[in-house]
Symmetry: C2
């Protein structure tokens, strides 16, 4: 191991000078800086992470807690994780991967050991038991997703309420009068993040504002359940011409089923999805959709964490406005 002392000797300066060259916490003469830097790359010096953490009380590590398995679409989780990791490097931070199944114990362990400077939590539940633990510790934290009570917390999420409304607007603008929201599975509504409920709220409010007939149905996402949900909707409301799908797993079944029932998309029936762009693009027809801004959420979470580390705690809730992209699955309602 190359130590700071060796670099100092090689450069003919004291260890503290090397430290200051690295931290830029005091001014160094041009000449000294050059010699130190030369010594650093000549020796291939990297500061010892543990020693630095001990002395400075900063580990330069961000802990990211991800769901082991969740209702979230796996590629979205991955995209967030990669965005967090990439953005963290911009701040000279590394990322420690924790699984949500470590639960509150994991949060205590990280906070207590000084292993990480801050935490980013994914898959936040409405009444998440990690939150009280977070409140006890003074470790900066950012939640991706909204709990029921956000007081004192820093959170980022897609604005699902506005997302529901935006989908309704799009269909209403196209002339649709009867629409349906195919939502997540029952379990998601019961346990989870509330994003599903928020979508539904926005959907219903905007539908009523624009005078549309709207139904909302939960859906497990299997072929069979999607078939059942679709059948019930069309039975109750045979005039339904617009569908909004929140459950990615239900997208492919829904498209097949509509085709089978002789409804052409988008000629007879329009479909709007709430899903990652990737999914919207690989469907056939390509879907009009509100995308899940995974990368943006990840980057934002890191920036929030860093600003807490540097500037202190300023709780904030950031709701990213939905971006609806019109593709091939939605069109004006046929003049009947």
């Amino acid at each position: 191991m190359v130590t700071i002392a060796e670099v100092a000797r090689q450069a003919g300066v004291s260890p503290s000078t090397v430290s200051y060259v690295l931290s830029r916490k005091r001014s160094i003469s041009e000449d000294t800086r050059r010699r130190v830097e030369a010594a650093i790359d000549a020796l291939g010096y990297h500061p010892h992470a543990g020693a630095r953490a001990l002395a400075s009380n900063r580990s330069n590590i961000l802990a990211l807690m991800v769901p082991l398995r969740s209702d979230m679409y796996v590629p979205v989780i991955m995209e967030i994780a990669m965005a967090v990791t990439t953005e963290a490097r911009e701040f000279d931070q590394d990322v420690l991967l924790l699984t949500k199944d470590e639960g509150t114990g994991g949060v205590r362990r990280i906070a207590g050991s000084g292993l990480a400077d801050a935490m980013i939590l994914m898959d936040v539940e409405l009444d998440d038991d990690r939150i009280p633990v977070l409140r006890e510790t003074s470790t900066p934290a950012v939640l991706i997703g909204l709990p029921a009570d956000t007081a004192g917390l820093t959170c980022v999420d897609l604005d699902f309420d506005a997302t529901g409304a935006a989908c309704v607007d799009h269909l209403a603008d196209l002339g649709h009068r009867e629409i349906a929201l195919i939502g997540e599975s029952e379990g998601v509504y019961r346990r989870h993040t509330g994003f599903a409920a928020r979508t539904m709220t926005g959907f219903q409010r905007r539908a009523s504002e624009r005078g549309l007939r709207a139904v909302h149905r939960m859906c497990e996402g299997t072929y069979e359940s999607t078939a059942g949900v679709l059948a019930r909707i069309l039975e109750e409301r045979p005039g339904t011409t617009g569908f909004i799908v929140q459950n990615e797993a239900a997208i492919t079944p829904l498209l097949s089923l509509l085709r089978l029932s002789g409804r052409a998309v988008p000629e007879d029936t329009s479909v709007v999805a709430i899903c990652p762009d990737q999914v919207a693009l690989q469907s056939s027809p390509r879907l009009t959709s509100v995308s899940i801004p995974a990368e943006e959420m990840g980057r934002h979470a890191v920036r929030q964490a860093m600003s807490q580390l540097e500037g202190g705690h300023h709780p904030s809730v950031t709701l990213i406005p939905p971006l609806l992209t019109v593709r091939e699955s939605s069109a004006a309602v046929p003049a009947s």
Copy 2:
């Protein structure tokens, strides 16, 4: 922060005794152990990670380098990452997430800073530039995937050669005489891991051993390219009744195309996939497949890393034998 000194005071022992209770590196009287443990949870003590790393020269961190974007199916990467993280906790290790785009610099940084005790690298290329760097450092490392030269390295991967052969055997046993392997995209063969080439080798060797007519075609995985590949195969070898698909992206297009061309699966044509079980199960019909043992590879990589840390360096190449599961997409060739 609770320190070991506070715990020691509370328990009426010396700091080193607390340390030894934690590390179990020497025997402690039952009574002392109890008092120390009581003090530990009373105070909520967690050893400071940096201090421990500095003093013991062990960070208790495993670095995992994952591809930012790759030809690998994203859920497989995720499953490996989760398996690594979960298994690492069994050894009291945490996982640091690095992206492959940090390249050799990332490897040097981790090795040089003592941030991690060992590294696990995914998405290993045939002539991976991280390998020489790994050889310079003494940091234990495990590769998931096989480079061209494995001398002195520890690697884990699915035995793709045997996989190709197993798929051929399955189709041959069912009476198929003309078969085709729809492989990965050209880029994968050129740049990459060699897993595609190894599959092909096993496929061709076994086909020749069993006297089958066999063709292999690369495929980009889009609908259009799959259509082109299929058309060419059927033109050259109209008698082809068995397909092996290695490119997950090509699976859905292939099934649709076969249906469109009036070939029923499995009545007229059999399809065997090399893909995660999840993909095989959600296709319709469910696919006979060799699964990608993501979890097993992740767990194995961690165990190898730990055994290097504890017992020294014993290079080894572990090829996981393929497991072919018969589902609904393969059947005996029709008596013509």
